[in-house]
Amino acid sequence: MSVAVRNTRANTLTAGKLPKFAPWGLLAISWAIFVAVFLLLKASGSTKDFNIVGALFFGTILFDVLIVVISMVVEGGRKAKDRLVTSLVMSAFIVVLLPLVSLVYTVISRGVARFDVQYFTYSMRNVISVGGGALHAIVGTLEITAFATLISVPVGILTSIYLVEYGRGRLARAITFFVDVMTGIPSIVAGLFAYALFALIAGPAIRNGAMGSIALSVLMIPIVVRSSEEILKIVPNELREASYALGVPRWLTIVKIVLPTSFAGLATGVVLAISRVIGETAPLLLTTGFTTDMNYDLFSDRMMTLPVFVYTQYAQQGPDATPYLERAWTGALVLILIVMALNLIARIIGRFFAPRGR
């Protein structure tokens, strides 16, 4: 019966509506149009080679326009606006994906050349031009970053605990404000500061890894504080209260309930902070210096780091630049892989410690 009703009388709740595949179809068409345009441009000789990035970029913009116009006609103004935002949001994503893909492609395609055993077993001692490796830089980066983490994480997490669990009043407000300010310290200033600090104590010739760690800590601490603070804030108060109600003192509640509950988030935050500083170059140039040799000792002598390695390989090419640039791009690739690995570890640890169940 209801079927009959529906067939005889139009459902008043329906409105003009584009089919579900419409946006995707349009996107494909828009891309195709601009791929064609750029192919023509190339054929006509006005551009040197086919520009896929440009085609996708302009195709996406064309899609934004098309979908709005069509939706405006078929679905009316409000829907069109909704479509506009949807398409813009999607476009934002595509537009950002373009540089990302280009970047990743560049690093990988140029970095694989030297992604070999020698790269991970050799330092640059006595290496001229071809060959050599970045073992010294990898070790240096790992040690310096680890030490910076060792300094920043306790300070950062304790501070965020202060802000979330204890702090009210003026000190807390001052810390919150100045942590924000601290995120704005340019990395090179952090390097200058760390160098000045050590030079004051040990004279101008001092260079060592620990100094670099201090410089990185200055950059890292505010990030750790910010992210940990947000994470600790979302630990439900219910859990704290449940713990207090069992007669557990406040500090044990924090240590044994709040921190474990937010462990995954804290780990992610720490990894975020690490990945933010592990690629810093300028402060390390000033503090840890430059060497071609292995050095395992954080507290004496120059130490190489991957970003400095990448930078100097680029900046100090010989007449045949290829081996230098290859080493540089492989260094960049290794750096990104290290951060990815850290991310992965954080996620695994996070999963392991994550609140279980629903």
Binding site: R78, D82, Y162, G169, F177, V179, I188, A190, P249, A332
Partner: protein, 319 residues
């Protein structure tokens, strides 16, 4: 409230609780950590100020770039720093909001997690690599577009010629900066958008709002202060970025709004990186003093942001 060092103006009527040793030690250590941050910051500030004094009082002729005094030296740099960061955020903010919304409210949940991870990955790319990518890939790529723009809409002051032949303009640098800021901004905004109260989202939908109207009514207002802090974080990165700009930008000592030419104002941080190696005497002090100026800019901008966030507190989502 067993062990708060800073409890609010507490009332005397409240009985004092005994404070356990563990609590006292623990809370003290958190206070120490927090204070340590302030001490470090004060030390950085002190270092900058002490090192800056010779430049601030420098005699004519001792400063680089034939500047008559420190302020005329640092003026173009301040302009360049703010201008580059502004351009970068002009691009990064809408894109970040877009991506964050895409992840939080548009993409299917399974996909959005992967997308979030991909974006996070961008945060991990070191700035040298961004610099190299900017100068080797991006600049040659955009240069023809700049050419076209200058040729056709060169009358528009922003696109005034002559066009840069290398594409290493402030706009290119700003694009690199934007790409560098986007991951951190997106990460923060995404979290805020995800926390927008369901209650208000559903209220909007129940009134017959489309998805965008729902976002405008319930998500964006709620996220306002979060968006501002995300922008602040991005700004921090944009203002302080050193090596990427030093590699990508073609700088000159000018104040100019043209974004496609070769005479681009330099940024403070990049200028330090470029000149530090050869700087001597007062020149070195001038560089550090410019660092101090950058520090003060960051301070002011943060204060402004705080002011904006607090102004409409009565209408904020937090209640």
């Amino acid at each position: 409230m067993t062990a708060s060092a800073e409890s609010p103006a507490r009332t005397d009527r409240r009985p004092k609780a005994t404070v356990r040793l563990g609590d006292r030690v623990f809370s003290l250590s958190t206070v120490v950590a927090g204070t340590l941050i302030l001490v470090v910051l004060a030390a950085v500030a002190l270092f900058l100020i002490v090192q800056s004094i010779p430049a601030l009082t420098a005699k004519v002729g001792t400063l680089p770039d034939q500047a008559t005094n420190f302020w005329s030296y640092v003026g173009p740099l301040v302009f360049g720093t703010v201008w580059a960061a502004f351009l970068a955020l002009l691009m990064a903010t809408p894109l970040s909001i877009g991506i964050a919304l895409f992840i939080s409210h548009y993409a299917p949940r399974r996909i959005s997690q992967v997308l979030g991870y991909i974006i996070d990955l961008l945060a991990a790319v070191p700035s040298v690599v961004f610099g190299l990518w900017g100068v080797l890939i991006l600049a040659p790529f955009v240069q023809p577009f700049y050419n076209t723009l200058v040729n056709h809409v060169g009358w528009f002051p922003l696109f005034a010629g002559p066009v840069s032949g290398t594409g290493k303009t402030i706009l290119t640098a700003a694009i690199v900066l934007a790409v560098m800021c986007i991951p951190i901004m997106t990460a923060v905004m995404r979290e805020i958008f995800l926390q927008a109260p369901r209650l208000h989202e559903e209220a909007a939908l129940a009134l017959g709002a489309t998805r965008w109207e729902m976002i405008r009514m319930a998500v964006l207002p709620f996220a306002r202060s979060g968006i501002v802090s995300a922008i602040m974080l991005g700004l921090g990165r944009a203002l302080g970025e050193t090596l990427a700009i030093a590699i990508v930008l073609s700088p000159a000592t000018v104040i100019s709004f043209a974004v496609l030419g070769s005479q681009n104002p330099n940024t403070i941080a990049a200028n330090i990186a470029l000149q530090f190696a050869e700087a001597q005497g007062v020149g070195l002090n001038a560089l550090i003093a410019s660092g101090l100026v950058l520090f003060v800019i960051t301070l002011l901008i943060n204060m402004a942001a705080r002011f904006i966030v607090n102004r409409r507190k009565a209408f904020s989502g937090a209640n």
